[in-house]
C-alpha cells in the first residue's frame, strides 16, 4: 500500500490521491489555497528529489534544491518521506498602508512590502499561518515599496471579508512571491489584447501601464467585461488613458441591459461575441487574459483559433480556494 510518511508518521495514500489531500484527510493542518499548483501555499519538503519532479513546476531553483514541492500536485508512485518547511522564510512582511473601496464589491489594498516584481505577477498573502490567498499586483514597482491589490469581496469569503470588514492601516500580512509569468513581453511593435473580467483588471492595469511606460507602439486594446455597469471600476482612468494615447482603445462590455443613465461609455454585448467581431484576425497579437477560469479558457481558445500563437497568449487564472 502506498503511503506518505509525514514527519515520521505514515499516512496511507489512496489511488491517485495527492499528498496534500491525504494529510488533510488525516487531520493534519497544512496550509493550502488553489489546489492547482498556483498559489504555492501548500509547500512541503521531501527527503530526496525522487517522485517530486512533477510537483515542482514554478518553484525557484533554490526551492528545488531544497527538495521543496507543492503537496497539492504530488501523487507519488512510491512511499515518500515529507516534512513541513519554514515557508515563513519565503515571505516578506507587508504592512497595510491604505484600504479603500473602488466600487461596491472591490477594495483597493495597499501594502508596504519590500521585494522585486513585474506588474501582472501575483503574490500569496498570508493573514496568519493557516489562511493564504493569491492576489495579482496592480501596481508598478516604485521607490516607496508599496504594492496594490484589487480584492473583490465575496460575502462569506474568509480573506476578502477580512479585507473588507477588518483590515486597517498598520495590520501585518505575510507576502509570498512574486509568482507567475503573465507579464509584459517587451515586444513593443505588436498589437496587444488585454482582456479582463472583474478584478482580472488588477494585473491588466499593471501590464497596461508597463506597456505605456515602455513606450509600446503597437495598438493596445483593453477589453473589460462585467455583469452590470455598476461592476466596473477604474473605468474613468482607463478612458482618460485612451483619450490621451492614440494607440490605446478601451472597450467596456457589460452583460446586463443598460439603463441608459450610465455616466461613461459602455456597451451591452456578450464579451466572447464582442471579441470575436472586434478581433477576427489575431495573428501576431500579444494576448493577456485575466480573471475567472471559464472566461480565460473560452477566450484563450477563441484567440488561438483566430490566429494568435499559443506562446503569445498569457493568462492569469483566478482559481478559487479549494481548486478549479
Amino acid at each position: 500500500m502506498n503511503a506518505v510518511v509525514f514527519e515520521g508518521e505514515p499516512v496511507a495514500l489512496a489511488d491517485g490521491e495527492s499528498v496534500l489531500d491525504a494529510l488533510l484527510r488525516q487531520g493534519h493542518s497544512i496550509p493550502n489555497g488553489c489546489r492547482a499548483g498556483v498559489c504555492q501555499s501548500c509547500l512541503l519538503g521531501a527527503e530526496d528529489d525522487v517522485h517530486i519532479g512533477a510537483a515542482q513546476t514554478g518553484l525557484s531553483d533554490a526551492q528545488k534544491q531544497l527538495n521543496y514541492f507543492l503537496s497539492c500536485q504530488c501523487v507519488p508512485a512510491e512511499v515518500i518521506n515529507v516534512r513541513r518547511v519554514d515557508t515563513a522564510g519565503s515571505r516578506v512582511e507587508g504592512v497595510v498602508v491604505e484600504k479603500r473601496q473602488l466600487n461596491e464589491q472591490v477594495w483597493l489594498l495597499r501594502l508596504r512590502a519590500d521585494f522585486d516584481y513585474l506588474p501582472g505577477q501575483y503574490v500569496t498573502l498570508w493573514r496568519d499561518d493557516s489562511l493564504a490567498r493569491s492576489y495579482s499586483l496592480a501596481s508598478l514597482p516604485s521607490a516607496d515599496g508599496v504594492i496594490e491589490c484589487h480584492i473583490r469581496h465575496y460575502p462569506g469569503g474568509q480573506f476578502s471579508s477580512w479585507v473588507a470588514n477588518e483590515a486597517q492601516a498598520g495590520d501585518r500580512v505575510g507576502v509570498q512571491g512574486p509568482l507567475g509569468k503573465c507579464v509584459y513581453s517587451g515586444d513593443s511593435e505588436r498589437p496587444l489584447l488585454l482582456a479582463a473580467i472583474g478584478t482580472g483588471l488588477a494585473p491588466i492595469w499593471g501590464i497596461l501601464r508597463t506597456a505605456l511606460a515602455q513606450q509600446h507602439r503597437g495598438a493596445i486594446n483593453v477589453v473589460v467585461g462585467a455583469k452590470a455597469p455598476s461592476d466596473f471600476y477604474l473605468h474613468n482612468e482607463l478612458q482618460l488613458i485612451a483619450a490621451m494615447q492614440p494607440n490605446v482603445a478601451v472597450h467596456l462590455v457589460c452583460q446586463d441591459e443598460l439603463a441608459g443613465t450610465e455616466s461613461f461609455a459602455v456597451q451591452q454585448a456578450d464579451i466572447y461575441q464582442y471579441c470575436k467581431q472586434q478581433f477576427a484576425d489575431m495573428k501576431g497579437y500579444g494576448v493577456y487574459l485575466c480573471g475567472a477560469q471559464t472566461f480565460v479558457s473560452k477566450l484563450r481558445k477563441q484567440c488561438f483559433l483566430a490566429g494568435a500563437n499559443m506562446a503569445d497568449i498569457n493568462a492569469d487564472i483566478f482559481i478559487p480556494f479549494g481548486g478549479p
Binding site: 477560469q293 479558457s297 484563450r300 481558445k301 488561438f304 483559433l305 490566429g307 500563437n309 499559443m310 478549479p324
Partner: protein
C-alpha cells in the same frame, strides 16, 4: 537519418504544433476530444504526439498508446481526421511528400493500439 531529423527536429515540432492544434480544434469530427480546460497540458500532449509521429525521441510503447486512448472509443473516422489534419499541416509547412509519406506510415503503425483493436 530519421524523418524527424530530416524535417528539422524539435524546431519542426514547434512550427507544426500551433497549426495542427488549430486545425484539430476547428474540426467538428474530433474537436471535442481536444477541447479541454487545461489548454497548456493539451498543447504539451500535442507536442508529444507530433514528436512521436515524426519518429522523434520518445519512450511511448504500444501499451502506452492503448492506455492513453483507451476510454475514448475512437473509430476509423477519428483516426482519419487526425491523419488528414496532420498531412494538411505538413503540406502547409512545405514538408516534402516523401517525408509526409514516412510520417503517415509511422502513424499507421500505431493505429491498432490507438484504436484499441
Amino acid at each position: 537519418m530519421s524523418v524527424y531529423e530530416k524535417i528539422g527536429g524539435d524546431a519542426a515540432v514547434n512550427a507544426a504544433v500551433d497549426i495542427f492544434y488549430r486545425k484539430v480544434l476547428a474540426d467538428d469530427r474530433i474537436s471535442d476530444f481536444f477541447d479541454t480546460v487545461d489548454m497548456d497540458a493539451q498543447h504539451a500532449k500535442q507536442k508529444a504526439f507530433l514528436t512521436m509521429a515524426f519518429g522523434g525521441p520518445n519512450s511511448y510503447t504500444g501499451k502506452d498508446m492503448r492506455e492513453a486512448h483507451k476510454n475514448m472509443k475512437l473509430t476509423d473516422v477519428h483516426f482519419g481526421a487526425v491523419a488528414e489534419n496532420l498531412v494538411a499541416t505538413l503540406q502547409e509547412l512545405e514538408v516534402p511528400q516523401e517525408s509526409i509519406d514516412e510520417i503517415v506510415a509511422i502513424c499507421l503503425s500505431v493505429k491498432d493500439d490507438v484504436l484499441n483493436v
